[in-house]
Symmetry: C2
Subunit: 238 residues, 2 copies
């Protein structure tokens, strides 16, 4: 799992494309797929903190060869809601025109491949396997977003943080037989912006979970979870 956070530079731009083909078009001959995708896919290396730019006028897909990102929605008054985090190997669906303005920002140095959604779909029409992978991927994102909506609409601060930590443990944690070590690539502010809470509330809830013996922290990013099952109980799942 530790490679999910790899931030070592991919050697070249063509290699980013090749990794995407390997991950999402395993049946395709690499040269053929790369040829078609090469015209619409823009590979890029993005420094942590910068925005991964996509055409804002329509939907886009971004493949993440390495690194970690946050997908941010902006509402009025500068309020920000992080709607999803993504890690190496994942494909992100970035909304274009919508009620809110969406941005994909790099949490650490990233290698990314941006593609306009309609052009990617035009290519995918020729490859049912790929189309189905895209669909399965999108269904997964939809269901994660719905689970998130439950938290934002109906859970208290402690449940939200427990939920977040369990989710991160599963996605980027180093499993240690029921326990787990996580190296969070995002700040407390990011956690707050993701859970609809303030930075102060996040800090206090970390304190509570620490007192409950469910969390140990070291420095700003190291989090150790000695009892994943216990955290799950707190998370308000049914």
């Amino acid at each position: 799992m530790s490679n999910r956070l790899k931030s070592a530079p991919a050697v070249s731009r063509t290699q980013i494309l090749a990794e995407f083909v390997r991950d999402y078009l395993p049946g395709a001959r690499a040269d053929v797929a790369a040829g078609e995708l090469g015209h619409i896919a823009l590979p890029m290396r993005v420094a942590g903190g910068r925005t991964i730019t996509t055409d804002r006028t329509s939907n886009a897909f971004v493949y993440l060869a390495s690194g970690a990102t946050k997908l941010i929605a902006k509402a009025s008054n500068g309020r920000e809601q992080i709607v999803a985090f993504h890690f190496a190997g994942e494909l992100v669906s970035v909304p274009g025109k919508s009620c809110h303005s969406y941005n994909l920002a790099a949490l650490v140095d990233c290698d990314a491949l941006t593609m306009p959604a309609d052009e990617l779909l035009a290519i995918a029409r020729g490859d049912p396997d790929f189309l189905e992978t895209l669909l399965q991927n999108t269904i997964g994102a939809l269901h994660r977003c719905r689970d998130k909506a439950v938290g934002l609409g109906r859970k208290n601060a402690q449940e939200r943080l427990a939920d977040f930590l369990v989710g991160m443990a599963m996605r980027i944690g180093q499993d240690q037989e029921g326990a787990c070590l996580i190296n969070l690539p995002m700040s407390r502010r990011d956690v707050g912006d993701s859970l609809g809470l303030t930075i102060e509330t996040i800090s206090r809830q970390f304190g509570e979970l620490r007192e409950l013996g469910l969390v140990k922290t070291a420095g700003r990013s190291q989090v150790f979870l000695p009892d994943i099952a216990g955290l799950r109980n707190l998370a308000g799942y049914i």
Copy 2:
């Protein structure tokens, strides 16, 4: 638009299937498509208030030939969050195994067609047009869910209700040159469960919007919006 809320009975179960084919597989020969789908698709008529049952062990799709539904997530302590409303002609993606338990409930009498997701996808692999339609549909649902997450995470009660009413106006409203008449098929409780608020707060915010001249109500379900643009301004969009 008024047919989006049609609740007159569809004549037969085969007709529900035929409507799905017409809406989502326009290129397919109806008899061929119906033959394949016939083995996996379960047509049903469901009375308002009842649950549209799907196999809970895996994801499902539900096509709504007529009526209106709410997709409910249950968290612990009986807390409920409505993650989406759906109307006639729409295809709903219902999560199976997840952190929360999901149910699709009929708001009014519905004609529905339930299909296991993996079996539907197996059929769709033979038809790129259909697969692409499913994907576009799911991307749309994902982006609506993200916009909803922004509201749940970062907006106050008034913005949430304004947002909700604008959304309903676009989906089931009868447009009247900048104004709009809506016949809400859901209760105040449902509106609250969708916006992460209580029934009392919904009621108070309806009062506020009424005083602002942005909403007129008649009975429990009739809502008139004289100034959609004004509501949009309140909704906290960027």
